[in-house]
């Protein structure tokens, strides 16, 4: 559409577009500038002694720590462990959550019966279940994945189900006038119409899975970024804590954008026209 119209733009419209473009560029530049400014301030304040770098670390020390971890071959071990737990927890939570949401959509009676249980489970701080998970699944990766699953599951169920229920009765009426079965109503209308909501739910549950994994690693782990953070805190190596958090920031952002990209691809009809 754009290319067809480009030739026909009036000078006023061209000026308007230019203005929009400039504004976008300003935002992008400002974002990077802020990041650089914060890091620079941190480094400077640490050097002049306003921040005690023993307890506040500094960007250079963070970079050195990451480099040291990398040289020792530990960096990707810890990243790998944490990433594996998060991805598995996220995928399990999504699959199981969506499946349960489908069941609850299918049977309004079941949904009504289970509603108070979901509400309580949602309100319950999942970390309280940590000791139980360790006893049940052992002091290892399974417990951490179970924690990630627990933290993301209820949120996924609730938001996906809300998405299904949002699809108006009219579209379902249309399907019934065409003689559709409940299964067809679900597969041809309710599910595809909910894809955007499901994608939003996934963005939420990606974050939740990270929470679950890091909490899980705090409780029980021999490796992983959460382990590094706890270990660093115990031995008072704040450089290690800060470095792990920095790596975690990058990973969490990458995974979020991964899901956002998938959303764009899957829900491409939203961007047609």
């Amino acid at each position: 559409m754009k290319s067809e119209k480009a030739a026909a733009y009036s000078p006023e419209h061209a000026a308007f577009l230019k203005k929009l473009e400039n504004r976008d560029r300003f935002v992008t530049i400002a974002r990077y500038a802020l990041l650089i400014l914060l890091i620079a301030m941190w480094e400077i304040l640490a050097r002049v002694g306003v921040i005690d770098s023993f307890i506040g670390s500094s960007p250079v020390r963070v970079a050195q720590t990451v480099a040291r971890l990398y040289a020792a071959g530990d960096l990707f071990l810890h990243i790998g462990v944490t990433l594996f737990e998060t991805v598995v927890g996220f995928l399990l939570g999504t699959a199981l959550g969506t499946l349960i949401a489908i069941l609850l959509w299918w049977s309004p009676a079941l949904s009504r019966v289970l509603d108070p249980y979901l509400v309580v489970l949602n309100a319950l701080p999942k970390i309280a279940l940590g000791p139980i998970l360790i006893v049940w699944f052992g002091a290892g990766v399974s417990s951490i994945i179970a924690m990630a699953l627990l933290v993301s599951l209820v949120v996924t169920i609730m938001s996906v189900l809300a998405g299904f229920n949002e699809i108006t009765g009219d579209k379902q009426l249309l399907m019934r006038t065409l003689g559709a079965t409940k299964m067809q109503i679900f597969t041809k209308v309710v599910f595809p119409a909910s894809v955007p909501t499901i994608m939003n739910a996934l963005k939420l549950s990606v974050g939740m899975s990270w929470v679950g994994v890091i909490v899980g690693e705090y409780l029980v782990s021999k490796a992983g970024l959460g382990y590094l953070i706890v270990y660093g805190g115990q031995v008072f190596k704040l450089d290690l804590v800060m470095s792990s958090i920095a790596v975690l920031c990058v990973l969490a952002a990458l995974m979020y954008y991964g899901v956002a990209y998938m959303e764009k691809r899957l829900a491409s009809w939203r961007y047609h026209s």
Partner: protein, 249 residues
């Protein structure tokens, strides 16, 4: 008598809710013959739509019988409800898919309808790229693609602006006559009902009963717009207007 397509016999319908019950249809009897275009007008909320749902078999009557033996209903709703993620072609094939009747033959037939009614250039377009009138036409073709015998039109033009509405009612009328379909139109627009139908039923306030019935014969015009110019048009309008008894607003 084999010409009767829809036979509603002494039908009553009561809606039940926790807060109480609402009688929607009260001992209603009506018949529609093959190829006939029947309109139903009545005060809003009088149970007109319920009658269409009964004919379509979406709801069961509380008492009495509805029969459309051997004939297949096709429903057209007030809003088009096209699926945003399917293009025009995907939308008109929806009914055939649902009815597990999508063969190369029925598919071509549906695409042929698109072609006949001037929409084949838009087959790959998505609903959001179409105007309201075009969307409603696609919705009609989606209904026609399943080759129904009786078309049930539930205020199909009411979400459109006035000009589009007149033009589209002309086109839909054309399509229905071309395809030799039987049609039942529910509307609150008296002019629309008179201009399109062979017979007009006036319903009472809820619970719906038939208040009166008019055979429409206009001395000129073979399209709804032209029929509006017939001298008798205004007389029908006045009579029906009085019968509708829109006492208070």
């Amino acid at each position: 008598m084999e010409d009767i397509v829809v036979d509603i016999n002494d039908v009553s319908l009561i809606y039940h809710e926790r807060s109480g019950e609402t009688p929607a249809v009260d001992h209603l009897s009506m018949q529609v013959k093959r190829g006939e275009f029947v309109s139903v007008v009545g005060p809003s909320g009088c149970g007109k739509t319920s009658v269409l749902s009964l004919i379509a078999g979406i709801i069961e009557p509380s008492s009495g019988s509805v029969s459309i033996d051997g004939f297949k209903p096709g429903y057209m709703l007030q809003r088009d409800h096209l699926l945003d993620w399917r293009n025009v072609e995907g939308n008109i094939l929806l009914g055939l898919e649902v009815q597990k009747n999508l063969t190369p033959q029925t598919r071509n037939c549906a695409l042929g309808l698109l072609d006949t009614y001037g929409l084949s250039a838009f087959a790959k377009h998505y609903p959001r790229q179409l105007s309201g009138g075009m969307r409603q036409k696609v919705a009609l073709i989606r209904t026609l693609a399943t080759s129904p015998d009786v078309l049930l039109l539930d205020e199909p033009f009411s979400s459109l602006d006035y000009q589009t509405r007149l033009r589209l009612s002309d086109e839909v009328y054309d399509i229905i006559k071309n395809e030799h379909k039987t049609a039942i139109l529910v509307t609150h627009d008296i002019s629309e009902a008179i201009s399109m139908s062979d017979r007009l039923l006036v319903f009472t306030r809820r619970p719906a009963r038939i208040k009166n019935e008019h055979k429409i014969s206009l001395s000129r015009g073979d399209t709804p717009i032209a029929r509006r110019k017939a001298p008798e048009f205004k007389d029908y309008f006045d009579v029906v207007w009085k019968e509708l008894d829109v006492g208070e607003v």
